[in-house]
Amino acid sequence: MTRKRRRLYWLLACGLGVGSAAALALSAFRDNLVFFVLPSDLAAQHPGPDRTLRLGGLVAEGSVVRGSEDGHPLARFRITDGRDAVPVTFSGILPDLFREGQGVVALGTLGRDGVFHAAEVLAKHDETYMPKDVAEALKQKGLWNPKAGPPPPASTWNTLAPAKAGAPTKAGG
């Protein structure tokens, strides 16, 4: 075998490896990218029951009902971004610091009935903490301008009105 031929084989082998990795990654991206949405996004457009989503926002005050179904615990609550609220069901152990008014992210799918079935619920361990995605999205919606100061107390979030374009948001209303 000549040197050139040999080099060709190796290039082919590398191409095969890199190519199959790229093909796998692309096809996996198509099916498995998980988009972060806010309740108002879901109100605007139903993504279909097969699509896994991360729904972020605040647990609406007074919405948490911890019940059980066939001996399995089932929590119901609403996640709100101040404009719309989405009912969520979750069968599992809620995070230790899950509470009303807290910023949370729920991973799951939106059923045809408009109820979000969460497979996972994440909350961070700090009262002033807000999940990065939630903070980011609320900034984009004009609900919080970081330049105007720290985020307002979590308990007031679901009563906030979206800010007018350009105007800094006053904390706590």
Partner: protein, 653 residues
């Protein structure tokens, strides 16, 4: 006083590291023997300075000196002594200091054990290590100083994150960091050789033990982290494809590739340029992994603190270290003439396949981990990439890797034929097939059966080389046993490491058959899961040193016979106003009975119950892999000093 001493020692370490970076490199370039000879002393000096600084921080934590901001923020007077010590590295500032300390240890170790290296090369290696040290100690000193004082000192500290108050996590960072930072040595060798413009077989021989050591630590560190996630987070899983986990997996994948390509450099003087690039890439991934995640640039549950100034300093430092190495590589790589031809079917060929597959896996993991960040930067979209993506990409790539893994060591160097190698493995293939068929029949789960077959193939295939070497069943058994003593430890080591991968794979396959349920129970009620009857006997409170625990007593019975009593609990830490689930796990090595306690409401508690078959094998396998690395490292031929004398006699310099 002690914190000021630590602060001063830290500043001294920057100065010594800077000297260590400049003087030996300059000396080696000019051929100045005195400057070259200064390298080891500077490396040891830097280590002493950093060890003093680290010792001062540990001391401040142990005596609870609440005039030190770092201690106030992360400790409390009532914390057990063990966690006062380990809490030193349980926060951003302390962990960076530990990172620098381990890098200094690497420099000193090269100074100590590298006596048989050519002195100019050793000076350059130490110089490169010193340059990276200087940058990171400067970062510790300016942006994350652990010795900042507060006035007036508060009465008590704010306490440590209770999740970290755990023996598994206490020792996880030092071991993991030893792995991460250990790859600095192959990196330094790569850069030093690029400066010299010469790489030959001895480069592979020098680099391999260091890579092996770092790899063994990284394997152990990853396993410990995964074990911690399993028993502490209470989710019942062992790997979540979290950015922090991926950050440790990436250098492991490329480090494993480097481990194998360095063999080719040593034996055949081929793949030289590629190995140098891998050495640079592995350390770059270690660096970006630690710092991007720890600084909160990647979104992760493990991130300590987010501070923009820190982020920019770190990004600049990473760009400087990685960029310099890559520019040097681009300039010098063409000088390194490739040599050592080999046929596609050969030991080298199998190792190249190993490298291609491992690097492809690293590429997809890297893509999946960083894509959300770039998508956010470019399009503003908020996307996350979860476990399904990684499972769909990494698993298919691992199948050919595992197939070749048993075959490779049986191929001859340079040119080989497939048929004889397959003939040596037919029994392993047959056994794997039998295991697979039994598993399909018994479990009815095709994917798990495939994984079990793969595990059997790896474990049996791993020992095929030894079986071959002792000519088992072809010479009398007594002769075979006698020959066993002559098998080099490096062969035992690689067999053990390959077998360890098989054990881990069996564990993962077992875990895919795990069953779990989440139930709300009153005391006295019971539920059936996985052939066991789980009864909640009672609930009670138990005090701890700095927490109070609510404990559930769960009695597990099988066919009316008591198997075990589990006591999952929830710990409330008053100071941190935090609650942590403390799982209770009982294992018999074949299955884990796993319980975690959730909320309590109206006299009923939420319990998460798992039956996890073969779960301990996951970490046991990793331990076997690390042990294989250590065994291989103890082989005389791999020791840096031993072969150098021999090589000097036969190979003209």
């Amino acid at each position: 006083m002690i914190p000021e001493l630590g602060h001063f020692a830290l500043a001294l370490a920057v100065a010594l590291a800077a000297a260590q970076a400049v003087l030996p490199l300059w000396g080696a370039q000019r051929g100045d023997a005195r400057l070259i000879a200064a390298a080891p002393g500077l490396a040891v000096g830097q280590l002493i300075a950093l060890a003093t600084a680290f010792g001062a921080l540990v001391w401040s934590n142990v005596v609870s000196d609440f005039s030190v901001l770092n201690v106030v923020e992360n400790s409390q007077a009532a914390k057990p002594l063990l966690y006062k010590i380990t809490g030193t590295w349980g926060n951003h500032e302390g962990s960076i200091l530990l990172w620098c300390l381990i890098l200094a240890i690497c420099g000193a170790v090269v100074a100590g054990f590298g006596r048989d290296l050519p002195s100019a090369l050793r000076a350059r290696v130490i110089g490169v290590l010193g340059a990276s040290s200087a940058g990171f100690i400067l970062f510790a000193l300016t942006e994350s100083n652990p010795f900042t004082r507060v006035w007036p000192p508060p009465m008590d500290g704010q306490g440590m994150n209770p999740l970290l108050e755990d023996p598994g996590l206490a020792f996880h960072p030092p071991i993991l960091y030893a792995g991460y930072v250990g790859f600095a040595i192959p990196f330094a060798f790569a850069v030093a050789s690029l400066i010299e413009g010469r790489i030959d077989a001895s480069w592979g021989r020098w680099v391999r033990p260091w890579t092996l050591g770092a790899w063994a630590f990284l394997t152990g560190g990853i396993a410990l982290g995964s074990w911690w996630a399993y028993y502490e987070l209470g989710w019942g899983g062992f790997w979540f494809w979290d950015p922090v986990e991926n950050a440790s997996l990436l250098p492991w994948l490329t480090g494993t590739a480097l481990l194998h390509s360095a063999i080719v450099v040593e034996k055949r003087e081929a793949l030289k340029i590629w190995s140098v690039l891998l050495a640079i890439g592995t350390f770059s991934l270690s660096l970006s992994g630690t710092f991007l995640v720890r600084s909160g640039i990647l979104n992760s549950v493990h991130a300590f603190a987010t501070d923009p100034a820190r982020g920019i300093f770190i990004l600049a430092l990473l760009a400087l270290v990685i960029g310099t190495a890559l520019v040097l590589f681009a300039l010098r790589a063409p000088v390194l003439a490739p040599s050592g031809l080999f046929a596609p079917v050969s030991r080298e060929g199998a190792l190249v396949v190993n490298n291609i597959l491992l690097c492809s896996m690293a590429a997809v993991v890297f893509t999946g981990t960083t894509y959300p960040m770039f998508a956010n930067l470019i399009g503003g979209a908020q996307i996350s990439v979860g476990a399904p993506f990684f499972n769909a990409t990494v698993l298919p790539l691992s199948v050919p890797l595992f197939a070749v893994m048993s075959l490779g060591p049986l191929l001859a160097w340079k040119r080989a034929a497939l048929a004889p190698a397959i003939r040596k493995l037919w029994w392993a293939a047959l056994a794997a097939l039998a295991v697979g068929l039994t598993a399909v029949y018994g479990l009815g789960h095709a994917l798990a059966a495939l994984a079990f077959a793969g595990a059997a193939w790896l474990v049996l295939g791993a020992f095929a080389e030894i079986v071959e070497r002792v000519r088992l069943f072809r010479v009398p058994v007594g002769v075979s046993l006698a020959r066993l003593g002559g098998v080099p430890r490096s062969v035992w080591g690689s067999s053990l490491a390959h077998a360890g991968m098989g054990v881990t794979m069996a564990g993962v396959a077992g875990m895919s058959l795990a069953v779990h349920t989440i139930v709300a129970m009153h005391p006295g009620e019971s539920v059936g899961l996985g052939g066991y009857q789980w009864t909640l006997s009672r609930l009670y409170d138990a005090p701890g040193p700095n927490f109070t625990a609510r404990v559930a007593e769960v009695t597990v019975t099988r066919d009316g016979r008591v198997v075990t009593t589990l006591t999952p609990s929830r710990r409330s830490y008053a100071l941190q106003r935090n609650t942590v689930t403390d799982t209770s796990i009982r294992t018999n090595l074949l299955r884990d009975l796993y319980t975690a306690l959730g909320e309590e409401r109206d006299g009923a508690v939420v319990l998460r119950l798992h039956v996890n078959p073969l779960a301990p094998w996951i970490w046991l396998g990793a331990l076997v892999m690390a042990a294989g690395g250590a065994l291989s490292l103890s082989d005389r031929r791999l020791r840096v000093g031993a072969p150098a004398r021999h090589a000097a006699a036969t190979v003209p310099a």
